[in-house]
C-alpha cells in the first residue's frame, strides 16, 4: 500500500486550488506535485484530484487494477461501484465509458452530475483542439491524445443537455486541465 498526500491538509488544498483554477480557465494546463508516491498505474495528478474530491459519501468508479482500487478505497473511504452510472467521480485509466451513460444530474440539481477524471497519454496547449466558451477570452488550444475517436460528438451531446452534463478533468503525470460542460470543442483546421 502506498501512502497518500505527504501533508494531508496542504496537499489537498494545493490540488483543490489547481482543480478550481483549471475549471475556471478551461483547457489551461496546471501542474500540481503534491503526491510523491502513488500506485504506478495512476497519474499523480489524477490520483491527487480523487484524494481531494472523493469521500465516503461519493461513489467512485474506476477501471484501474486491484492495487489502485485498494489504495483509493483506503485513502478516500469512498465506495467503489461497478456501474459507471452510479458514480459521482470516475477515474479512467484505459477506455473511457460513454459520456451518455453517466449521471448528468437533473435540471433542478445539475450540480449532482458526475465528474470524470481521465488519464490521457499527453497534454499540451498551444496546439490541437480549439476551445471556446465561458472562462476563455477568445480561444484556447489544447491537445489531449488518448480519448476515444468519437469523443467530440459525445462532447457535443453532453453540451446540448446543459445545464445538465458531466465535467471532465484530463490528467497526465503531474499536469491537469479541465473541460467543464460549458466548453465548446472544435477540431483544428
Amino acid at each position: 500500500m502506498k501512502p497518500g498526500f505527504a501533508d494531508p491538509v496542504f496537499g489537498a488544498q494545493a490540488i483543490f486550488r489547481a482543480l478550481m483554477e483549471a475549471m475556471a480557465r478551461p483547457g489551461r494546463i496546471h501542474t500540481c506535485d503534491v503526491l510523491p508516491d502513488c500506485p504506478a498505474e495512476l497519474a499523480p495528478a489524477a490520483a491527487a484530484a480523487l484524494l481531494a474530491l472523493a469521500d465516503s459519501e461519493t461513489p467512485v468508479w474506476t477501471d484501474a487494477g486491484d492495487e489502485a482500487r485498494q489504495w483509493i478505497a483506503f485513502h478516500t473511504g469512498a465506495t467503489l461501484v461497478h456501474n459507471p452510472a452510479q458514480a459521482q467521480f470516475l477515474l479512467v485509466t484505459g477506455a473511457m465509458p460513454p459520456l451518455s451513460l453517466l449521471d448528468a444530474g437533473t435540471d433542478e440539481a445539475p450540480q449532482d452530475s458526475a465528474t470524470l477524471i481521465v488519464q490521457v497519454s499527453a497534454l499540451a496547449d498551444g496546439q490541437g483542439w480549439r476551445l471556446t466558451g465561458p472562462g476563455i477570452e477568445h480561444e484556447h488550444r489544447l491537445d489531449a491524445p488518448g480519448l476515444p475517436a468519437d469523443f467530440l460528438p459525445q462532447w457535443a451531446t453532453n453540451r446540448a443537455i446543459f445545464p445538465r452534463g458531466v465535467d471532465l478533468m484530463l490528467a497526465h503525470g503531474h499536469a491537469l486541465a479541465a473541460l467543464p460542460r460549458t466548453t465548446r470543442i472544435e477540431e483544428p483546421g
Partner: protein, 137 residues
C-alpha cells in the same frame, strides 16, 4: 490489539525499548487525531443515542515486505498510535511474532488484567447485599 490500544504510551514505549528491535516501516496514513461519536443504549436494549464525542488517534504503517499494520486508539497519543500500528504489522510476521508477544504484549496484558482485577476487588468491597440486610433484622 486491544491490549496495545489500551496500553498507556509510556508503558508501550518502555516495553518496546526492552524487547527485540522493531522492523523498519513507512507511514501510510497519520498518525492523525480526530473525533469519534460514542453511541450508547439505555439499559442495554433501548434506542441508540449519541453519548458524546471522544478523541481518537489513528495510524497505518507498512513494513518493507508490504505487511500493513493499523491502530485506532482513544486519546491523542500520536507516538503510541504509531508504535501500536508497527507492532500490529510486526505481529503478523511469523519470525517476529513470538518474541514481540513475550516481550511486549503479554506483560502489558498481565498489567491490564491486574489493574482490572484491583478495580473489581475495590468495587466488590463496597457491595451491599440487600438479601443479607433483610435477614440481619
Amino acid at each position: 490489539m486491544s491490549v496495545l490500544a489500551r496500553a498507556p504510551g509510556e508503558a508501550l514505549e518502555a516495553r518496546i525499548a526492552a524487547g527485540p528491535p522493531l522492523p523498519a516501516h513507512r507511514i501510510i496514513r497519520g498518525p492523525e487525531i480526530g473525533l469519534t461519536m460514542l453511541r450508547g443504549r439505555a439499559g442495554g436494549d433501548g434506542a441508540a443515542f449519541n453519548l458524546g464525542e471522544a478523541t481518537l488517534t489513528r495510524c497505518s504503517v507498512s513494513l518493507d515486505d508490504g505487511t500493513l499494520g493499523h491502530c485506532w486508539r482513544l486519546g491523542r497519543d500520536r507516538r503510541a498510535a504509531e508504535l501500536a500500528a508497527i507492532l500490529d504489522a510486526a505481529l503478523q510476521r511469523p519470525d517476529l511474532r513470538a518474541g514481540l508477544l513475550g516481550a511486549v504484549v503479554e506483560p502489558l496484558a498481565a498489567e491490564q488484567a491486574a489493574a482490572a482485577a484491583l478495580t473489581a476487588r475495590r468495587a466488590a468491597a463496597t457491595e451491599v447485599r440487600f438479601a443479607t440486610l433483610a435477614t440481619m433484622r
